[in-house]
Symmetry: C2
Subunit: 350 residues, 2 copies
């Protein structure tokens, strides 16, 4: 398994299935861990950072976490490969941009990823399609247990797992769910969602996590604090209340739209027509149009495209993916033309 | 010939032919005349206004000006019919909105129209496709001569023809040419055109004359003064210098675009795709998109649509036409849906 093979398909989490997949794109759980007896990354010497990377990457590959785990040395990887990993949600932007020794271990189906030397020594994530937080958490518990038989993680009997940033202390767990809320946006109710998220002390972010704008009606909802709550409590809150509530809001907004479907039909058919005919198109407009096509398909108003294809196009038309798929490096104007050509081909009626 | 029959096709001037028709949509010449011995319209009694209308409409229909002339009593016509005449450029907006006895005599092919009791007692126009000012002027000279054998027009040996507004005194002639300048707009040079027009003491207006915005890259260029110049001088200026200059600018801008045609291709194909798939669309967006389709077709970048069809759609999708063609009265939101459906049908690939 090599990094280059990744672009042949989308990760498991983008297959457009799983519970509530009409609204929930994906579920992600991440645990932060640090090696006991080692300073946090910012206080490590370069030698210690190298040592940490070596130990963790070795254990990640040999602890029988998943079949076909492979490791990417992010520090040694080219700019394009690092961006590719970000676009696939396998590493964070911060991890891509760092300058310390660092890397990521990834399972073949991309549901599992273990970042080494991001903000913490270890950040493991499980990423799944639809609303599957409990399954994702079970994955991580298993990995965490396996790694703990070989590594000693910093743990305080009162505070829990110790992390570089105090917001992660405790369970070290972050739960995020990616939602597609186009109907709430179309009907002007999205601000209510944002207010509700804040009132519940959660965070809402764009497609690519911290510091990114919400584009194309995609919103990442995640917990803000990990201290003072058990993993079980955090999961329960998301699974039993938060997410079903948002899904319900969105579904009701879609039902309301269906009572006079011309607005959705107009947006969905225009979006599809533009994607099938543009001669150059930026990634942000693409995202917005695909969002409208996804809505139309999910509402049964667009018949000739599958959600799987739409999800794949979200990924494949992003800058690094596009360059890998088409096997040439391109600047933004060149990408805009290549993206349009690729899109026309993938969505052609035949 | 009845008014209702008009919507079966576009007028002769929209057939997309004639000299320089890639840039020049149409040429219009209009002469203003007033009956000698009668006050200007604003000073007439209602009785005098009725008398004027009766005399002129009778002569217009019997002077053998053209085969199948018919007369529309604009004061008695419904709102929709008046708007229809405006959209076809057969009467002015002012004429549609007045409250005096008034009307218009129209030739079957719509090249000739004689407005009665607009600002002046008589305003006759000839409207032709492409750059045909001399032909249009010849039409009017013939009509003017015929009418003068039966009517006595107010004429002053020093000032020329007398008109209600001093800007028309002299020849009483107004020359306007409708240009389609999308490439100059796309390449950001349209302001230069506006400056040139002003420097030449001409006027630039939108599609529907005085007080209308230039939408969809259509610009009406006309002379400002009629005093102190002969008809021949005014025509010569337009035919030999002004219009060929603008046509040349626009053609050069199109050639420049062709050097890297992706920008035009993108706009033209998107426009066509949207027109073929929208479920509701306003008249202004329609105008803009048709303008892009017309550009693409004229530049040989869009193959499956004729200029004749595009020109016809410009007319038939305007509010009053749409309602007449579809034979039902509709408010703006209803028209937006009906317009989209009509457009999809007319542009369908089959």
């Amino acid at each position: 398994m090599r990094l280059a093979d990744l672009t042949e398909r989308a990760g498991e989490w983008l297959r457009g299935a799983g519970p509530m997949h009409d609204v929930v794109i994906s579920s992600r759980v991440r645990l932060a861990r640090n090696l006991a007896g080692m300073p946090f990354l910012g206080r490590c010497t370069a030698q210690q950072q190298r040592e940490i990377e070596e130990r963790i990457s070795r254990e990640a590959l040999t602890a029988e976490i998943a079949a076909d785990m492979f490791y990417v040395d992010v520090a040694a990887a080219g700019e394009l490969d690092r961006q590719l990993l970000v676009e696939r949600h396998l590493i964070s932007r911060q991890h891509a941009q760092g300058d310390q020794p660092r890397g990521v271990a990834v399972s073949k189906d991309e549901t599992l990823a273990i970042m080494v030397n991001e903000e913490d020594h270890v950040r493991m994530q499980s990423l799944r399609s639809g609303l599957q937080l409990r399954e994702a958490f079970a994955d991580l518990t298993r990995i965490d247990d396996r790694l703990e038989t070989r590594l000693d993680f910093a743990f305080h009997s009162r505070y829990g797992y110790l992390t570089a940033c105090p917001t992660n202390v405790g369970t070290g767990m972050r739960v995020s769910v990616m939602l597609h809320l186009p109907a709430l946006k179309m009907t002007g109710q999205i601000d209510k969602v944002f207010r509700a998220v804040r009132d519940m002390r959660m965070e809402v972010r764009g497609l690519h996590g911290e510091g990114t704008e919400a584009t194309g009606d995609f919103f990442q909802i995640s917990n803000q604090t990990t201290l003072g709550k058990s993993e079980e409590q955090i999961l329960e809150e998301f699974l039993d209340r938060t997410i079903p509530n948002f899904v319900d809001y969105e579904r009701r907004a879609r039902e309301a739209l269906l009572r006079r479907p011309v607005a959705v039909d107009d947006k969905a058919h225009r979006a599809m027509a533009i994607l099938r005919s543009a001669r150059r198109i930026g990634s942000e407009e693409t995202m917005y149009l695909l969002s409208m096509v996804r809505l139309g398909a999910n509402m049964g108003r667009l018949k000739d495209v599958s959600i799987k294809t739409v999800n794949e196009l979200f990924l494949m038309t992003q800058p690094a993916h596009l360059q890998r798929v088409l096997q040439r490096e391109m600047d933004a104007p060149q990408r805009a033309e290549a993206r349009a050509a690729y899109m026309r081909k993938r969505l052609s009626l035949n």
